[in-house]
């Protein structure tokens, strides 16, 4: 499989659209079996496990999040939240086909709203991708908020 920069950029943009359209089942399919979603608590954080993060989740937890969103007794999703991603054109940081290693960097603004509240988050996302069964998959999605260490309100959906 010969991947170009456009393929990688396209992947990231389509991933954000899936989240905005709440196509969560398809979104989960984008992750490898051992994939992770990471949102650090500290700026420039390098440690995933031995210090607090906002999120560091494997497929079990990501699936649970998705299933919870549609639960009849998920009171904090009655009414449901909505979200919108505004991405800067992603930068491809690495295309290394022999080692199956692809990296993309994307600054973003993200809005999540529910009831009459609307919260704006800004930051940078880094995708570490691999090719598996002829498809690009997410090995790690890292989301760094510009104000990761500020007090936050609920973030219930996925940036």
């Amino acid at each position: 499989m010969n991947l170009t920069e456009i393929d990688l950029v396209d992947f990231v943009i389509r991933e954000a659209r899936m989240l905005d359209e709440q196509q969560y089942e398809e979104w989960l399919e984008l992750f490898t079996e051992d994939g992770f979603y990471w949102m650090p608590l500290e700026f420039g954080q390098t440690e995933e496990k031995l210090t607090t993060s906002l999120m560091y989740e494997d497929l079990l937890l990501l699936k649970s999040r998705v299933q919870r969103l549609s639960g009849k007794r998920t009171y904090s999703q009655l009414p449901k939240s909505r979200c919108q991603h505004l991405l800067q054109t992603p930068t491809v940081d690495k295309i290394d086909a022999p080692n199956n290693d692809y990296r993309v960097f994307t600054p973003f603004h993200y809005v999540e709203s529910r009831n009459d509240e609307k919260e704006l988050y800004a930051g940078w996302m880094k995708h570490s991708l691999i090719v598996e069964d002829e498809r690009l998959k997410i090995k790690l999605k890292r989301v760094d908020l510009v104000n990761c260490d500020s007090p936050h309100r609920n973030i219930q959906l996925f940036i």
């Binding site: 999120m55 699936k63 219930q156």
Partner: protein, 444 residues
């Protein structure tokens, strides 16, 4: 009429088993809480491991007062009001930092030693002919005089006089002891910055929820129930139970589980869930930690420490510690309907990393603004904050398992789903708001 005009009238807002909505929604009651309750009680400031070296400081707030906790040149810990004695500028704004031997005001370069005493004023002769010596400014940074460092946990009381530290906490300190004793070296270290989670509700709702064993099976069915379901589905492939499942699934335990956990209350508003066992009792040890503890303390003592599985211990008014998982939550009141929750974690010094990994995981799974457990807790508090504006019924009900005659003994035990600890908190609330009737209001 404002409660500020007649402060003692707030005492009638709390009965033995009910509380009037104004203690949650009225800004003037909140102001009285800041002026009295949060000055008359011992408030958690921070942990000594946050400031290991001379000149290290940690800046925070005690109720609405900006303070900093600093390690002085003689190694002692001081709590100082964070303002320049000259014109009020906060001296530091970083959460953590090192100031060396002095604080220097960024405005007019007044300097202070790390015990708050005034060291220097530039071109001091400008003050020669004024009565500088009589001014507040000449006294330097004001220090909080009532500070107690209990096994590295730093508490302060802003008001002089009143209850002593030991009397205020009594035997409730046994929960902090247990958390510390879980380190083979008997020492804890704060790890990283706290999670900071903003709530649009009154601080007391959060504190009440810490010992509310009647809600998890309702509120957390949506999250813990789902994790359980998905895990059971995956389990057929024969995987070992992941740490995340250990942390989150016990939240779906039954009414009878929580009932049997039990609740213990102490005088002055302190209390804890999990007298006999708790949702933290069944964590696996694959790291050799238990053997390490036996080595350090002897078999019998180690078992005594590890068999104590207290769930949440509330230190009235606004602190909660979880010994078996080494987390600490501080409920910082900002307004009648605004509370900032900080969730900190500790390393058990000398213990295997696996324990810290579980602690960090627990913190993000349960206490984060991104937590699927926290989202539904926050939802119910905030609905209550709004619902309380209904005028037809103006009372919060705390009658579950109330048979009268509570708060008499130094320590009392109850079935787990009781609201006794909430009643205990309100008894303490009345006791420490009580000074409103014999003081003029705002202190000098």
């Amino acid at each position: 009429m404002s409660y500020l005009d007649n402060p003692s009238s707030v005492l009638s807002l709390v009965t033995d088993d009910e509380a009037h909505r104004d203690v949650y929604i009225a800004e003037d009651v909140f102001e009285l809480e800041m002026n009295h309750l949060f000055r008359n009680t011992w408030i958690y400031v921070g942990h000594a491991s946050q400031i290991p070296n001379k000149g290290d400081y940690y800046s925070t707030k005690i109720s609405d007062q900006p303070v900093l906790m600093v390690r002085h040149t003689d190694e002692t810990i001081h709590v100082l009001y964070n303002r320049c004695a000259h014109r009020g500028t906060k001296l530091v704004t970083d959460i953590h930092g090192n100031t060396g031997k002095t604080f220097r005001c960024p405005y007019h370069a007044w300097t202070y030693r790390t015990d708050g005493t005034l060291l220097g004023v530039p071109v001091r002769d400008g003050y020669e002919d004024v009565s500088f010596g009589n001014s507040c400014a000449s006294k330097g940074m004001t220090s909080v005089s009532n500070v107690c460092v209990y096994r590295e946990f730093v508490f302060a009381k802003l008001q002089d006089g009143g209850i002593e530290f030991e009397e205020f906490f009594g035997d409730s300190l046994s929960s902090i002891d247990n958390m510390i004793d879980r380190s083979p070296e008997g020492r804890l270290e704060v790890v990283g910055n706290p999670l900071r989670y903003m709530h649009h509700c009154n601080w007391k709702m959060l504190v009440e929820n810490q010992t509310d064993s009647f809600h998890p099976m309702v509120v957390h069915e949506s999250s813990a129930g789902v994790v359980k379901e998905i895990w059971e589905d995956m389990k057929q492939h024969g995987n070992a139970t992941p740490m995340a499942v250990e942390c989150i699934v016990p939240f779906t335990s039954s009414y009878s589980f929580y009932e049997k956990m039990g609740i213990r209350t102490w005088q002055n508003g302190h209390g804890h869930t999990g007298v006999h066992f708790s949702i933290h009792s069944d964590y696996a040890d694959t790291s050799g930690y238990v053997d390490q503890m036996k080595e350090a303390y002897g078999k019998e003592r180690a078992e005594e420490i590890l068999n104590e599985n207290r769930h949440n211990t509330v230190y009235f008014p606004n602190l909660m510690v979880k010994g078996p998982i080494q987390t600490l939550r501080l409920f910082k009141p900002l307004a009648a309907d605004r509370t900032l929750v900080e969730s900190w974690i500790f390393r058990l010094v000398g213990a295997p990393d696996m324990l810290l990994e579980r602690t960090a995981m627990y913190n993000r799974l349960i206490n984060a603004p991104t937590s699927i457990v926290g989202h539904d807790d926050t939802e119910v508090y905030e609905r209550a904050q709004e619902g309380l504006h209904c005028t037809n019924n103006q009372w919060m009900n705390f009658q579950r398992h109330y048979f009268g005659e509570e708060g008499v003994a130094p320590m009392e035990e109850f079935p787990g789903t009781t609201e006794a600890q909430m009643r205990n908190q309100f008894r303490a609330w009345k006791k420490f708001m009580h000074s409103v009737s014999d003081q003029s209001g705002v202190q000098a």
